[in-house]
């Protein structure tokens, strides 16, 4: 008995409580299953752990760079935004990283089981979005139940996760078919709610569907916007500069920039957001590099005729101009919402630049499939509204955990619904006293 406890404690301290180790184990097992050589198994496992740590570190950088916005907006429009006492995204990843990893793996297996035994033959391969989806909803759950029964949490999370990762592509498929014309692959991305809505609202211009966006030429000069590093740096720097100018030199120097000249500080902050996101993407790349082939390999053995649910850029080539139209429409809408929300004192919105691209782009493609270029633009606008209101809702719903994440990443599936999910958990907790 003592030996068991000793082993269990050892595992807990040196494995489970080390945030990145579990992802290394998943990669390790995955590489072994793929029968890779010992050198590759070691290399791949270590790299996935480092990737995880890069993600956690980058999360801290992004949070630090985005944080002062709250104070600045408070000065300009007088909205009280309190993030005191929150764990924060970096802390949350370090504290709950092992649980997230286990639920991610568990929900993958639930996904392939559902695909194997039902008609929903979809296997979700967008591993990095599995991570963020579970990250957000685990946080929402912990808001209500801060000290949960861990085994129950892991089982419940895996089941709910697996259901989402199977159902989401299934529900999106009829709308994706209007874009691709086939069932060769499915859409497996956390912007699914947005693209479905965009497809539906595109019907407003049903009569003009043939006036496709692809007949329009986008000037080459705008192509720099496609690069995340560049567009984030430019847009965030611009926003910070405007914010600093509106808040006034004295306030900024005394309270925010620790003596640094305001505009210089603003440029630094804007560039730091881009730094954080660029590094984050490198970390995610390393973290999932070994896990994706493992997941795909396993799914091919168990559900060989499954349709792979893929990352959102797979729809880009079907309507590249629509991607730009959708992105620009969404970004413009979000920026306008920032102004209107601020002026009315409703909420201090931080434009989530990376989301505006990965939600707005596909929304343009789906909107174009039902309503031509007008559908693409309208789809982008509606998605922009959903993102903006979604951020306001979600930041409130995650106030003691990862509200800082909700300030820069608002993929609709985890930006529109967490508030309602939390309400459901509160209701259930009340009834079942947990």
């Amino acid at each position: 008995m003592e030996l068991l406890l000793g082993i269990s404690n050892f595992l807990k301290t040196y494995l489970f409580d080390q945030p990145g180790f579990l992802i290394g184990i998943v990669a390790f097992v995955g590489l072994l299953i793929q029968k890779k050589g010992i050198s590759e198994v070691i290399s791949g496992s270590v790299k996935s752990v480092i990737g995880f740590l890069i993600v956690s570190t980058a999360a801290g950088i992004i949070a630090g760079a985005v944080f002062p916005i709250a104070d600045i907006l408070n000065k300009i429009i007088g909205i009280e935004v309190s993030t005191a006492g929150a764990i924060g995204q970096e802390g949350f990843i370090n504290q709950w990283g092992s649980e997230i990893t286990i639920i991610m793996t568990g929900s993958f297996f639930v996904n392939i089981l559902i695909a194997r035994f039902t008609k929903a033959k979809f296997v979700y391969l967008t591993v990095h979005q599995m991570f963020w989806m579970i990250f957000v909803y685990l946080a929402a759950f912990l808001e209500v139940v801060p000290v949960p029964n861990i085994p129950m949490l892991l089982v419940l999370g895996s089941i709910l996760g697996g259901i989402y990762f199977t159902l989401q592509p299934a529900i999106t498929q009829p709308f994706l078919r209007k874009v691709t014309g086939n069932d060769n692959f499915a859409y497996g991305h956390t912007t699914s709610f947005g693209v479905i809505v965009a497809s539906i609202v595109g019907n407003v211009f049903k009569g003009k569907k043939e006036q496709t966006s692809e007949d329009i030429k986008i000037p080459e000069k705008l192509s720099f916007l496609k690069e995340i590093t560049v567009s984030t740096a430019l847009i965030m720097t611009l926003l910070y500069t405007i914010g600093v100018l509106l808040a006034g030199n004295t306030y900024i120097v005394e309270n925010i920039s620790e003596g640094q000249a305001p505009i210089s500080w603003a440029i630094n902050q804007g560039l730091t957001v881009s730094l954080g996101i660029t590094v984050l993407l490198v970390g995610v790349n390393m973290m999932i590099a070994e896990i994706v082939p493992a997941f795909r390999g396993i799914s091919q053995k168990i559900v060989p005729n499954a349709i792979p649910a893929l990352d959102c850029p797979v729809v880009f080539s079907f309507a590249p101009t629509a991607v730009m139209l959708g992105f620009v429409s969404t970004l413009s809408t979000v920026i306008i919402c920032t102004l209107i929300f601020g002026v009315t004192g409703f909420y201090s919105l931080t434009p989530p630049v990376i989301t505006t691209f990965f939600a707005g782009g596909p929304a343009g493609v789906f909107g174009n499939s039902t309503g031509g270029w007008r559908g693409a633009v309208l789809g982008g606008i509606v998605v922009g509204l959903l993102i903006s209101f979604g951020q306001a809702l979600t930041v409130g719903a995650l106030s003691t955990t990862v509200a800082d994440f909700a300030r820069w990443s608002n993929d609709l599936d985890y930006a529109v619904f967490p508030y309602f999910f939390r309400k459901i958990i509160e209701f259930l907790a009340m009834i079942f006293h947990f």
């Binding site: 391969l125 692959f185 496609k226 690069e227 995340i228 490198v282 990352d311 880009f316």
Partner: protein, 95 residues
Amino acid sequence: MKVYAICGAGVGTSTLLKMNIEDVYKKLNLNFTYRIYNTSVSLAKSANADLIYSFQSFEKDVQDMSAHVIIINNLMDLEEIENKTIEYLKSINKI
């Protein structure tokens, strides 16, 4: 030979494409050493690839790099990857 799969963010689609390229290369049993990586458009220039696989959306962005570019339409279509790879490798007498 340094082979790179390139996409926008260097995370989702390029990881899947890299995975499929690896499967194809393994099947082709090539007699030269190669390593396959994946990264984003932004980091592609400093990667110094010999051969790049990418998508239509990024064709213009990867054009002026010294690497040869193969454009893939369906990243999950192993046949397409295989055919285009063989076509290129034949043209440089590596197969």
